[in-house]
Each structure stands twice: as C-alpha cells, then as structure tokens.
C-alpha cells in the first residue's frame, strides 16, 4: 500500500487535473437542450450533423432521433473518450516506466520491494482512476443534466462506463508497451501511436460504413455501446476481457525483464560520428528525430482530410453544410473553402511543432547545456537564433512534404479546379504564420524567459479566432488580427499576399529582437 500511496503522491497533479477536466466536460449535457429549444431546430441540426462527413470523421455517427443526450454522447463523448485515452497513456507511463527511468523506484527496490510489486501498484492506481472517472462522470451527468431530453439512468451509467473502460483499455495497452519498450519516452510514443491507430480505425468505421471495425478500437466503444440509445452493456465485456489479457501479458513480461530496461534492449553503443560546423548544424542534427515524427503526423492529417473531404464539398455545393464546418467553409468556391480550412488545421499543428521547437532552447539553457555550448567560443545570441532558424526550417520541411503529398492525393478524392496547386499553396502558405509564432516564442524566451509559457498565447488566440470566430460572431477586423486564414486562394482572381509578407517580416524581426535580448541578459542556469 505504501508504494501505491507514494506513486499517487508523486503523480497527484496528473491524477487530479485530468479527471476533473473530464468530469467538468460531462456537466454540459443540458446546454444541448438550451441550444436547440424546439424539436424543429434540433431536427435540422441533427440532419446536418448526420450528413456531415467532417463531423462524422471527428465524432462518429449521430443516432436517431438525436435527443439532447444523444448529441451529448456523440460530440462531448468523442472529446471525453479521446482525452481519457490521452490521460491513460500519460498516467500509465508515469506510474510504471517513468518512475523507473528517473531512478526513484531504484531506492525502493533496495528496500525489499519485490519485482512485481511496482507493477501491481501501478495497476491498482490505474484501476482506481478508471473507477473514479466512471463514478465522477455518472454523478456529473446525473446532477447537471436535469430533465434534458433523452437522459436515462441506464444511459448515464453506460456513458460513464464507456469513459472508464476506454481509459482502462488504453492504460492496459500502454502498461504492456511500458514493459516492452526500451525507455519511458518510447513507451509513451507507442501509446500515442496506438491511440492514433484507434482513432483512424474508428474514423474509417464511421465514415466508410464498416461498423464492425468499431469493436476493435477502444475509441469505438462509444459507438458499440450506444449510451442513451441502446445501452448495450454486453459490448463492454470484450473490452474488459482485453484488459485482463493485456494485464496478464504485462505481468508475464515484467517478471522477465531487467529493472530500468524493457524487453527490447536499448541500442546503446554506436559508432556514428557527428559532422557539424557551428550552431545551426548542431541544432538541425538534434532536431532530426522530432522533425521526422512531426512530418509524418502532419502529412497524415493532411491526407486524412483529403480522403474525408469529398462529401463535405459536395454538400456545400448543394448548400447543405451549416454549423461549425459550414462556417469554416465560407461562401466562396466550396473546394477552395475546404482546402483553406484544412490549411488552417495544418497551420495549427505546425505552429505547435514550431513553438515546442523554440521552447527547447529554454530547456537547454535551464539544464546548463547552453552554458557549455557558449564556452566553446559561440556568440551569446547564436544558440537562440539557431534554434529559431532550425525551427523555421523544420516547419518549411513539414509543410513542403505535406503540401506535395496532399497535392498528389487530394485530386483523387476531390473534384474541382486546380486542386493540386491549391493543396500545395494552402500548405506552404502556412509558413509565414509558423514564422510569426516562432518570432513570438523567440522574443519571449530570449528577452523575458520567465514568461516563456506565454509563447502559446498567440497560437491559442489565433486558433480560437480562426475556428470559432464566425460562429461566435467576432467582427472581421478583429478576426484578421489572428495569424491564420491569410493564405489567398491561388486560383482566385484576387491574390493578396500582403498579410503573409507582414507575418514573415514580423517573425524575422521578432527572432532578431529575441536573439538580441538573449545576448543582453544573464544566462539562466541551474
């Protein structure tokens, strides 16, 4: 019990913030009732949602008749299960391999803790978290849903159980991965990889009408249980059985592996050399692994949108798409609207990559690496500037690869004029936006390192304006202040590139200012 309590204490932030967020999301059921007060309004919204491939891709199928509870389980349910799965990956690694890799378990193993004890403690914590999530979601819905249309006790319990079992399944997969993977980071990567596959399987099951696929994806559990519609509790059993099998496997593997090492050995000795000359070359080399992961991810997102977009564009041509996606597509050429929307999503993801890349400079400074680098005759501003330059170049690579791949693939799915050229242009056109994000992050880290967390602010604000601006009725001149949605339609009549030039220029200037700021202050060193 002591070990379990110790692990809970060490991960208390993770174990409280995530469940609270999820339970908070479960308090929104009654808003569906308020948003569509009359049956006619709701009927229109439901029909739009059912026909909309974009929302089908993201949330799954909305069952008839589309009562408030069903809409909640469809939309909020999608968010809650995905977030529960993300929490499962993070928590499962944190209580197993992370504790091993940072050395904190080593001391305890020396105090008479048996080989399997840490794993049992981890499993206890994960099961406890699943029970807590289930109970919390059920209570939250019961308390806040009131007399909303379609709410039932069995539906509430089933919905909460879906969240809990989804969490448990993904946890079990990750715990097994943590026994096999050579390091904690690798286990986390595998867990998220499995999550990506689970999402893709669910998306294919729902958009391509192959419902049985939902039985093999943890994220498809919601679709097979159908809370508030069928409440098929037996559909939970295969998931629980899978958890049991995975846990037994994890225990078997755990008994056969060494402390601090997975079943797969880490490749420790290598003969590779490093041919770098100067800061930029070194940073580029260090950024290579993460650049590869991000390029694959962003290209995959672009391709997914290409494959799923045809229906939306057809409907838009017939004037059917409303709501969120309708607002995104706008009123111009439907194909251009869809590609612009996809461009914005790609831009948001690339901006996350850009900001994370620049933030790495602060980490290097805090751990003392920058100090050692500067002591080799490197100029004071160079590490910051090199990091920004490499981040900008990395974004260019990601966008170029994504642009070329989508330019090849999208015309196969989407009818329209100049689809290939537009795909390429809308992808490459995100670069000035990414450059501006890099500029803001560089200025903060260079000149005001204590406020580095604010580097996320431009991205958060711009994303909000780009995705929800029209829906929330934000005036155009304020929306224009966001960094996204400035890429002109390359096949259109009017092609204003002014805003993109401004963004690129601002990014460059801010990088220069941030690098100069870094040179003028003391190094932060641990």
């Amino acid at each position: 019990m002591t070990l379990t309590r110790l692990l809970v204490l060490r991960n208390r932030l993770l174990l409280t913030c995530w469940p609270l967020t999820l339970i908070g999301l479960c308090c929104t059921l009654s808003t569906y009732e308020q948003t569509y007060p009359t049956a006619g309004q709701r009927r229109t919204a439901v029909e739009l949602a059912q026909l909309n491939p974009g929302s089908t891709l993201l949330y799954g199928r909305l069952p008839d008749p589309g009562a408030a509870a069903q809409m909640f389980a469809w939309e909020i349910g999608a968010f809650v299960t995905i977030l529960a799965a993300v929490m499962a990956v993070l928590t499962a690694v944190a209580v197993t391999r992370a504790a091993e890799d940072d050395g904190s378990l080593e001391l305890l193993r020396g105090c008479g803790v048996t080989v399997l004890r840490p794993l049992y403690s981890a499993l206890t914590i994960l099961t406890g978290a699943a029970v807590l999530l289930t109970a919390g979601c059920a209570v939250a819905i019961t308390v806040t849903a009131g007399q909303s249309d379609g709410v039932s006790v069995s539906g509430t319990v089933m919905f909460a159980a879906v969240v809990g079992v989804t969490f448990l399944t993904v946890s079990a997969v990750t715990v097994l991965a943590a026994q096999v993977a050579p390091s904690a980071g690798q286990a986390r990567l595998w867990g998220f990889g499995a999550l990506g596959v689970a999402f893709a399987v669910r998306a294919v099951a729902d958009t391509q009408q192959v419902g049985w696929l939902n039985w093999v994806s943890p994220l498809g559990l919601r679709a097979v249980v159908e809370p508030f519609t069928v409440d098929r509790w037996t559909a939970l059993l295969p998931g629980l059985l899978t958890v049991l099998v995975l846990v037994v496997l994890a225990v078997l593997v755990a008994a056969r592996r060494e402390f601090g090492a997975g079943l797969l050995r880490r490749r420790d000795a290598r003969n590779g050399r490093l041919r770098v000359h100067g800061m930029v070359g070194l940073q580029a080399r260090l950024a290579r692994p993460s650049l590869l992961v991000w390029t694959v991810t962003v290209a995959a997102i672009g391709t997914l949108f290409a494959a799923m977009g045809s229906g939306a564009v057809e409907q838009q041509r017939d004037g059917e798409v409303g709501g969120f996606l309708g607002a995104q597509l706008g009123t111009g050429d439907p194909a251009a609207g869809y590609l612009a929307y996809r461009g914005t999503v790609i831009g948001i993801v690339v901006s996350v990559f850009a900001i994370l890349s620049v933030l790495a400079a602060r980490h290097a400074e805090d751990t003392g690496l920058t100090g050692q680098v500067l002591a080799t005759g490197v100029r004071r501003w160079a590490p910051m500037a090199a990091q920004a330059a490499v981040a900008a170049a990395g974004c260019a690579v990601v966008l170029a690869v994504t642009g070329v791949i989508t330019a090849v693939i999208t015309p196969m799915f989407l009818d329209g004029d100049d689809i290939a050229a537009r795909s390429l242009a809308y992808a490459l056109g995100q670069w000035p936006t990414a450059a501006a994000m890099i500029g803001c992050a560089t200025l903060l880290i260079g000149a005001l390192p204590r406020l580095a967390a604010l580097a996320w602010l431009p991205l958060a604000a711009s994303s909000l304006l780009a995705l929800l601006g029209d829906l929330l009725g934000v005036p155009d001149r304020i929306q224009d202040l966001g960094f996204f949605q400035h890429v002109p339609d390359i096949a259109g009549v009017d092609r204003p590139v002014g805003p993109l030039l401004w963004l690129a220029a601002a990014g460059t200037l801010l990088v220069l200012a941030g690098s100069a700021g870094a040179a003028r202050r003391d190094l932060r060193a641990g």
């Binding site: 390091s183 420790d268 050399r273 041919r275 003392g368 690496l369 050692q372 002591a375 490197v378 190094l523």
Partner: protein, 300 residues
C-alpha cells in the same frame, strides 16, 4: 600580451537583493594552476560564469586574456576550455558525437589528443550519453576540455564524480597542460586535489575574498605538527627544553605532540634527536588547516 590571464578588480555580482560576489579581486598569472577555494555557495560558480561572459558583472573590472568577457564573450571563450560543476550533455548522442559537437562548434580540434585522453580516462565514447553516470559525463567534458587547443582551462569542481584512480589521471592532465604553457583555474571545495596541483590559491566565502597568494607562503602561516615517542626518563627534561624554544607541548602516555611554527622546526627536531626520541614525525601544514582556520574566523 599581459602576463595576467584572469584579472578581476572589485568584482560585484548581484541577483536582485542577493549579493553573490562582493568586491572580489582574483588574479591568475599565465602558466600557473590557480586554486579557487570556498565552501558550497561561496560564489565560485557565479564568478566563473562572469569570467565566461555568461553573467554580466554588476560592478567592477573583469578581464580575461585582456578582454572584457561581457562584450567579447566569444573571443574569450574560443580560447578557453570550460568544465562546469554539473555536466549536462545531449542524452540522445554518444560520447563521441558530443566530442564532435563541441569540436565542431569550436572549429578547432586535436583528435589524437581526444583519443589519447579518452583512453586515459577509460571512457567508452561509443556509448549513448543516456547510459553515462555523472562521472562518465564529467569525463566527456574533461576530455573535450583538455584536448581542445586552448590557452586557458576553467574547471569548476571537475573531479566530484571521479574515482581515485581517475583523479590521478586528472592530476597528470593538469601537469601536462601546465607543461604545455596553459593556465588553469581550478575551483574546488576538495582540498587535496588543489593542494597537489596548485601553485597559488584564492579562498572566498560568501562572495568575499578571504585570502589569496602562493601556497608556499600561506603554509608559513600555519604550524607544522611534530610528534615523537619519549622514554619515560627523558620526558620531563625534553619538555622543559622545548618550552625554552617557545613552543607548547602536550604529552600523553609517552607520546609528545606539538604545533611548531615553521622557523622553529629545525630547532625542535634537534632537541628531540639529541634526546634519542623514537618515531619522530613532522607533518607540514595541510591546506585543510588553513581552510578550516579561515572558515572558523569567518564564522565568528
């Protein structure tokens, strides 16, 4: 070219209201090994970071190789090798790749020296940094520092993770570096390593200078310890004669122990030899004694 490689005059470094370095004078001459001593938190690492241009001095004069590191940081550090107290390296590179990275940044390297030093330190450079212990990370930094073609080495508690065998290798490296005409600033709170290799020392505490000078001169200030075994018949006469030379003596079961100022050592030994004492030992003042004395004085 000036003969003072490192020169600070009334250097002050404040962080907010906290004064880390307070009017410090530090002079290191070309070609010497200078010990930079003080307890933890005395301001050694802060001073070193000012010397490297990583921190800006709040007040005072700083010259390294004749230049101000605050404005000519790169020009200064390109001629300096630095080993920090806590060595952090890129976890996903191998030891060899880290050496490549530092050499690549510096633009000059002596690969033969690197290989020779890695072998001397028994460092497997093919292994990933992730698998290195603290001592191994330190070895990578030491190999990079000693092998680099630089004029000055600034080493911040460089042997804290090394085992005794490796400390010997380290001392040999220091001797070789000095023989090659390089200048070394060696910060430490471990006295033995400084005592064995340093010509001059600067002792600081709470950011202030406590004492600075040649080690040989500073030993003068402290007394040597002399012990001897006396046969019971001679004891009283010997003690009386020693008192007459001006030293205080304690005896315990025939063992005589006395602290003797350096000029009086020959006279005292003469008395003991004449009295036919056995097991005579004479230990010169250890830096430890100097060090403790300063801490106690400062603590009072």
């Amino acid at each position: 070219m000036t003969d003072t490689v490192i020169d600070t005059g009334t250097l002050v470094k404040r962080f907010g209201s906290f004064t880390a370095v307070d009017h410090l004078d530090l002079q290191v001459a070309r070609g010497e090994v200078h010990g930079f001593l003080g307890p933890n938190g005395a301001g050694k690492s802060t001073t070193i970071r000012v010397l490297l241009g990583l921190y800006r001095a709040t007040a005072g004069r700083v010259r390294v190789l004749g230049l101000d590191p605050a404005t000519h940081g790169a020009a200064v550090t390109s001629r300096i090798s630095y080993v920090p107290g806590e060595v952090t390296l890129w976890p996903n590179l191998t030891g060899q790749q880290v050496l490549d990275a530092f050499a690549g940044l510096r633009g000059r390297r002596d690969e033969a020296a690197e290989q020779r030093l890695a072998a001397a330190f028994a460092l497997d450079t093919r292994r990933s940094v992730r698998t290195y212990s603290k001592g191994n990370r330190q070895k990578v930094a030491l190999v990079a520092a000693f092998a680099a073609p630089t004029d000055v080495l600034i080493l911040d508690e460089p042997t804290s993770g090394l085992d005794p065998l490796m400390e010997e290798v380290f001392q040999q490296c220091v001797h070789d570096a000095v023989a090659a005409g390089r200048t070394i600033l060696l910060s430490s709170h471990i006295l033995a390593e400084v005592e064995d290799v340093c010509d001059t020392v600067t002792i600081i505490k709470d950011g202030r200078l406590v004492e600075s000078g040649r080690l040989a001169d500073m030993r003068h200030l402290a007394a040597s310890t002399v012990t001897a075994r006396l046969s019971s018949g001679h004891a009283d006469t010997v003690v009386q004669r020693l008192h007459r030379t001006g030293v205080t003596v304690t005896t315990d079961g025939g063992i005589l122990r006395t602290a003797v100022p350096r000029p009086l050592v020959p006279a005292v030994l003469g008395v003991l030899a004449e009295a036919g004492a056995d097991d005579i030992t004479c230990t010169p003042a250890k830096l430890e004694d100097l060090f403790l004395r300063h801490y106690e004085v400062a603590a009072r």
